[in-house]
Subunit: 425 residues, 2 copies
């Protein structure tokens, strides 16, 4: 049970590598950038856009995304800047307040919005959660080159992935519509893929500010959310951002590649509401309940896997704490002449144990560098098992047989002494 | 960004403590128990029942639960033993095969079933996943004393918890019924609470063996699953295992404490099916779709939290790897006379760095035992930052100023040398 292999400890499985890369991406800075040093209480701006093109089609203003650090809480945020926006109606920017209360795992959380001249113009900035190394659905499915063409002849997205997207966006709309709001924009470049098959709506609140005076009622806006939702799924399913320009052809394409259930689902979303049957997110959820249940089960499976991963890492934490104690204890300069640590002293076996763990050599005298050995020894030491080991003195003249239980007692006693000494005034 | 506090490293937050306790529970053994040393390919049996009472009411045979280790794969399993069962029909035990393919996060996975005489009688043993430190819903809601009385006047279970249970059991039944099987038993002592608000059906497959020749058709058995489901929710909602003996009174109790939606949900489950409207798990899922979506969102939130936890632990792993390298490098007996490690050698600064990290003393010469200092230094070393530090020789005569970047290069070079030496034949 204490046996560890270097493989299960140091083997960088996909999750570890991914978390490591995301951690590095989060910490990235651009010291010599031409960006302003401060925007409101944010600093260390790093651009996140993958192209330099000013694209004003989506919002009516060129939009830029930056990673930035807040000097208020030290956390990292994503800032979306709409260039050239002039605030004409105070009420517009106050609509962001309602969005601060929207908490859904499939919506990128909105924290704030403010205007600024720090970029040299009049800009509107939205403050959102930062999701390191995320891509847009457009980049993921249409490719950065194919933003406008897509890949209609490429391999089609597996149906379970589409249902997973459908379930997540439905969850987002359920929360948004229940809060009396509407997403206003559901479009492949504005949905973020933050983890494997995890998506989040990334442009909430924006139109509530820049198109504050919409002639449409909230009911109409929410109905339009469902239509935009249907169009998004249609374009992903056909690998084609332009699918919405020929919907019958796209539907036919879907009919050839996917189940009738999926096709009907898209058709339902695209169809106009009528007085006979209510068309809202609640009805939609009822229709996809089987997929809700399946995806619920998948995420629980994933939780279980994360717990297993955490268990492994927690054991590493305990080993780290123990190794730190050993390093505090051994080789202290002030004990170099101390009797306890001499070859006849009672602490001597802790030095020999350190050699046993870290300084093994083979028959030719070559060093043995074996991580699994280190981890297994320390796991046994941590548990204080009864197993005995033979510790050999450096001159190979003496051999001590000692159990991990005794070693553990020795480590604890030596560490307690150190702590006592550290508290002397 | 590299600053660590001992608090965020060693502070045992609730999740860490829970995982630690579960890990210890998993490893528990009972060396002097009177249980058989081996059952089939399992060993190290530890009883999990909380009472010694033989209870044959549920299965018709006294049942016992043990934790055991498999000698085939070294993993831990839960074994449920039905005492005194005699296998009369080979087909009965083969029904377990279908259950091996059932994979749902809300069902305790069944791995195998076999008969054995190792307990001194004829017993039937089911092999299942082991969930450390889990309780039954009965123990959790009725208390171990109140197994038969419950706590009708105690605080009632919050409605969101009930919906969470409903969603999880629905997910289980969706998978089970889709596989052409039925749960056969849904009862508070046979539903396991494995984590906060995480439940799993814990008695699948058993009646398929011991009541193999049921007069009921699969459709009828699946209908009965829904009725048992309704009764379970009713007894949990009324804090009363005996609620099912007076259903009208229990329903009235629910009506006073909970929403009409919940009451109607329970009534639907309890009502007999009729030819006019289909009554099955699919219809049920459609009716609770909003709750499916909400619970789906909660589990995604939890995933996000687990990722944050993992991030923290992964940094500890990297620090552990680095500390191990330092320990491999420093104080090797075979280098004791080596020039590189002498006070004028190029490896010397690595010894001084080790002292800087682990062997600090205060003005009075007392040891400084500061975990945060250790972690911060190693995090900086791992990142190879530009920050410079002053390393003082043991005789305090010399002072070296060096950056973490240079230190990192030194560690990597020394470790590479060691690896090369370790591969010499
Ligand atoms: N909240 C966020 N957190 C982290 N990264 C983000 C976030 N929002 C966007 N990004 C990153 O910024 C990049 C650009 O996002 P953006 O929404 O501007 O899409 P785009 O493809 O540039 O579309 P457009 O042409 O409309 O600007 C994305 O590819 C993504 O990597
Ligand atoms: N799969 C399992 N993994 C881990 N522990 C389990 C598992 N199944 C049961 N247990 C533990 O065994 C204990 C007893 O379970 P059991 O199903 O026998 O319930 P019980 O309360 O003893 O009911 P009964 O009186 O019917 O035996 C539970 O409280 C639980 O802690
Ligand atoms: Mg952009
Ligand atoms: Mg029992």
């Amino acid at each position: 049970a204490y046996q560890r292999t270097a493989h299960d400890f140091f083997f960088s499985d996909a999750l570890r590598e991914e978390l490591q890369r995301k951690s590095e991406a989060s910490l990235q800075v651009l010291p010599n950038s031409s960006l302003p040093a401060h925007i409101d209480h944010f600093h260390s701006l790093v651009p996140l856009d993958t192209t330099n093109q000013k694209n004003a089609t989506i919002f009516g203003y060129p939009s830029w995304v930056y990673k930035a650090v807040s000097s208020k809480d030290g956390h990292i945020y994503a800032l979306r800047r709409l260039e050239g926006y002039r605030l004409t109606n105070e009420k517009a920017i106050r609509s962001v307040q309602s969005w601060k209360r929207v908490s859904n795992s499939s919506v990128v959380t909105i924290h704030d919005a403010f205007t600024t001249r720090a970029f040299g113009d009049s800009s509107l900035v939205f403050v959102m959660d930062y999701h390191p190394l995320s891509k847009t659905l457009a980049d993921n499915h249409f490719g950065t080159a194919g933003r406008f063409q897509g890949r209609p002849s490429g391999p089609h997205v597996p149906e379970p992935v589409l249902w997973s997207y459908i379930v997540q966006i439905s969850s987002a709309l359920k929360t948004i519509h229940s809060s009396g709001l509407s997403a206003r924009l559901i479009e492949p470049t504005k949905v973020l893929l933050t983890n494997k098959n995890r998506i989040r709506l990334n442009s909430c609140a924006i139109f509530d500010v820049v198109q504050h005076d919409s002639p449409l009622s909230m009911v109409e806006l929410q109905q339009d959310d469902l239509v935009q939702f249907g169009r998004l799924i249609l374009s992903i399913a056909t690998n084609n951002p332009a699918a919405i320009h020929n919907i019958p052809k796209a539907i036919e394409h879907v009919g050839r590649l996917y189940t009738t259930e999926l096709k009907d689902c898209i058709l339902w979303l695209l169809s106009p509401s009528n007085p006979q049957s209510a068309k809202g997110i609640d009805q939609f959820l009822g229709g996809i309940a089987g997929h809700l249940a399946a995806n619920f089960d998948y995420t629980l499976h994933y939780d279980d896997q994360l717990h297993t991963e955490l268990n492994r890492e927690l054991e590493n934490s305990r080993i780290l704490r123990l190794m730190t104690k050993l390093n505090f204890i051994n080789e202290r300069p002030e004990f170099a002449q101390n009797e306890q640590w001499s070859e006849t002293g009672e602490r001597y076996f802790l030095k020999l144990f350190r050699d046993y763990v870290f300084h093994q050599v083979d028959a030719q005298g070559n060093p043995v560098i074996d991580l699994a050995h280190v981890l297994t020894c320390l796991a046994k030491l941590d548990a204080g098992v009864d197993e005995k080991i033979s510790l050999v003195s450096r001159d190979e003249q003496n051999c001590l047989v000692v159990s991990y239980k005794e070693l553990k007692r020795g480590v604890d006693a030596a560490f307690q002494d150190l702590l006592k000494a550290s508290r002397r005034t």
